[in-house]
């Protein structure tokens, strides 16, 4: 693990030396996110987003634990207990708005983090396991976010639970028994609310555990970088602390600014007014939409309107789950040995188109299901799958990558007026 020139932990304080002998926890931290972890010297601000995701998870856990002290997971009083948090609990409104908007911030930074991985080829060998664990974290996050959204027991909570557990009823034969088993009833009710609360409290800690595996797997080959060229020697790296702790600090500051803008000036911007109406099992809101971060997947679900061998409903559910499970195969679908899109002219264009495609899916997911939007959603869904299954393997085979720099240091010096390898060698 790590490079041979990594700094060693040498505690000077007698107390720290004593602790290091008995329980080398400070050593672990030092080697993981301290000066003992050498990192490529050329990381840009996109490399902030992993730390930002960790910060967002910490915020969610802290605000969530406090909210759980005031929330009651009972269908009779859940909605009232959330209103009491908003009106009566000291600073309750702040904690709840921080938790609700914190979920959006968490998914936002994770989407940028995933996009960074796609652009710079961070999913490729030798970092496949990092990517796979990342997709696991993403799936856990989606489950956690969904179950958390059910807890306030508003109209959108209830009907979201009804629709999403309804996915399982699309499975032939065993679908309906599975749905009843998941809900503990025939429709979302007290049993479902209680188990969702239990799991919503549990899953963030599971996520934290998988994050540790994610970082562990990352630290074996070390971090990727914007050139995608592997670290060749000590001159290519700087210690994580203080260089990237400082750079990440800037990112955390910007993150908190945007977070504060949402909480204090527009706390309901990303929510739905219908969720301030208590759940009513006898009346469906006119327009059910999930939270913004699920819209592209919802659009894929809605795109299947005709039966073809299987029910349209089953196709929609399979495609929606498939769109995420597909990511597990990405390291083997993209066979190009070049990582960074900076050196892959064709891939770069198609990745741009994919981004637009996902934004279109997001729009369709939230829009009314009229004829034009259905067609638009179908085209965008088809393109999403085509990107991964057809375009990526084809691009990898047909593309002529631009010449790669010999090393990270050469790329850095070329950017800052250094001219030759000899020049950089003289510096090193």
């Amino acid at each position: 693990m790590s490079f041979p020139w990594a700094k060693h932990y040498e505690p000077k304080q007698p107390l720290m030396r004593w602790l290091d002998e008995k329980l080398p926890l400070p050593r672990l931290v030092y080697n993981a996110v301290g000066a003992g972890y050498p990192v490529p010297r050329n990381l840009n601000y996109f490399w902030n987003f992993g730390v930002l995701a960790g910060a967002a998870l910490a915020i969610q856990i802290v605000t969530g634990i406090v909210l759980a002290m005031h929330y009651a997971a009972n269908a009779g009083v859940a909605f009232g207990s959330v209103e009491s948090i908003m009106r009566d609990v000291n600073a309750g409104w702040f904690l709840r708005y921080a938790h609700a908007n914190g979920a959006s911030m968490f998914l936002l930074v994770v989407y940028v983090h995933i996009g960074r991985g796609l652009y710079y080829g961070s999913y490729k060998a030798p970092r496949e396991m990092v990517w796979l664990l990342g997709v696991v974290i993403f799936l856990l996050m989606m489950a956690t976010a969904f179950m958390g959204y059910v807890l306030p027991w508003g109209q959108m909570s209830f009907w979201g639970a009804q629709v999403i557990t309804g996915f399982f009823s699309a499975i032939p034969l065993v679908g309906e028994p599975i749905r009843v088993w998941l809900l503990g009833g025939f429709a979302p009710d007290n049993a479902a609310l209680n188990r969702f609360f239990s799991l919503h409290y549990l899953l963030p800690f599971v996520i934290a555990g998988v994050i540790i595996l994610h970082i562990w797997a990352l630290h074996i080959p070390g971090s990727n970088n914007p050139t995608g060229v592997e670290v060749k020697g000590e001159q290519d790296t700087v210690p994580f602390h203080p260089y990237y702790t400082a750079k990440d600090g800037v990112g955390v500051g910007v993150f908190l600014l945007i977070f504060a803008l949402l909480i204090f000036f527009s706390p309901n911007l990303l929510g739905h007014p219908d969720n301030y109406i208590e759940a009513n099992p006898l009346s469906t809101p006119a327009h059910i939409v999930p939270e913004w971060y699920f819209l592209p997947f919802y659009a894929i679900l809605k795109s299947f309107t005709a039966n073809f061998i299987l029910d349209a409903k089953l196709w929609g559910v399979l495609a929606m789950f498939g769109s995420i499970l597909l990511l597990f195969f990405l390291p083997w679908l993209d066979t190009s040995p070049v990582r960074s899109a900076n050196y892959r002219p064709k891939y770069r264009i198609f990745l741009g188109i994919l981004l637009v495609d996902i934004l279109v899916l997001g729009y369709v997911g939230g829009a009314e299901a009229n004829a034009r939007n259905v067609i638009l959603g179908q085209i965008a869904s088809a393109y999403y799958f085509a990107h991964f299954l057809i375009i990526l393997p084809w691009v990898a085979r047909s593309e002529r990558p631009r010449p790669l720099p010999n090393s990270i240091t050469e790329a850095v010096l070329a950017k800052h007026g250094g001219t030759s390898i000899a020049h950089s060698a003289a510096q090193a």
């Binding site: 009823s169 503990g184 429709a187 006898l282 006119a286």
Partner: protein, 193 residues
């Protein structure tokens, strides 16, 4: 007993030679121990999985009695069955005729009105008010609600339209509205469930 004194305390006096069996004695003990533990784990997993199923109090709500005496022809009411909306509709002769006029073979989920009602009580259409697409409550049971292009029920979520026999006619839903088990206790009372 001079040899005995040579043996350190706690060890057997002679080397232990056992004939080699397949499986060996210790393999057998291993397999037996793990199997026993496995059965124990299964016995514990079973209640852990089963606790997720509907509890006795949820199942106790599995029958609903509906009084039909106040429902005029052309009217419908919403009741609840297993915490799900239940539509009870008194069809007019015109609606019955319209439902019977449809070519059953042309339907997505082919069923006649007679198959969806009780003999002699063809005017009483009792279905769950749960759209078979993703579980929204269709409109059309309440006074003045949109009954959709086929005069039955219309789901506002994704535009599924049901006819006067609550059969799926248009939109993404795969099945007709579900007809639960029910029995007529008298001419004006049914027990659903």
């Amino acid at each position: 007993m001079a040899t005995d004194s040579m043996v350190p305390p706690g060890e057997s006096p002679e080397p232990f030679h056992e004939e080699v069996h397949d499986p060996r004695r210790r393999d057998f003990i291993n397999i037996a121990a793990v199997s026993f533990a496995g059965v124990g784990v299964l016995a514990i997993v079973l209640p852990l999985v089963n606790q997720m199923n509907p509890s006795a109090d949820v199942l106790a709500q599995s029958t609903t009695e509906v009084d039909l005496s106040k429902i005029q022809p052309g009217q419908a009411i919403k009741s609840q069955f297993r915490k799900q909306p239940l539509f009870v509709r008194n069809l007019t002769p015109a609606e019955i005729a319209e439902a019977n006029k449809v070519d059953v073979a042309s339907l997505r989920d082919p069923q006649t009105l007679a198959e969806r009602t009780k003999p002699g009580k063809e005017n009483w259409l009792i279905t769950l008010g749960v759209c078979t697409h993703l579980g929204c409550v269709p409109l059309g049971a309440g006074e003045g609600e949109n009954k959709g292009p086929f005069g039955g029920y219309f789901c506002p979520c994704h535009g599924s339209a049901y006819d006067t026999a609550a059969r799926i006619r248009q939109g993404p839903a795969p099945k007709n509205l579900f007809v639960p088990n029910y029995t007529f206790n008298s001419d004006t009372a049914v027990t659903v469930g």
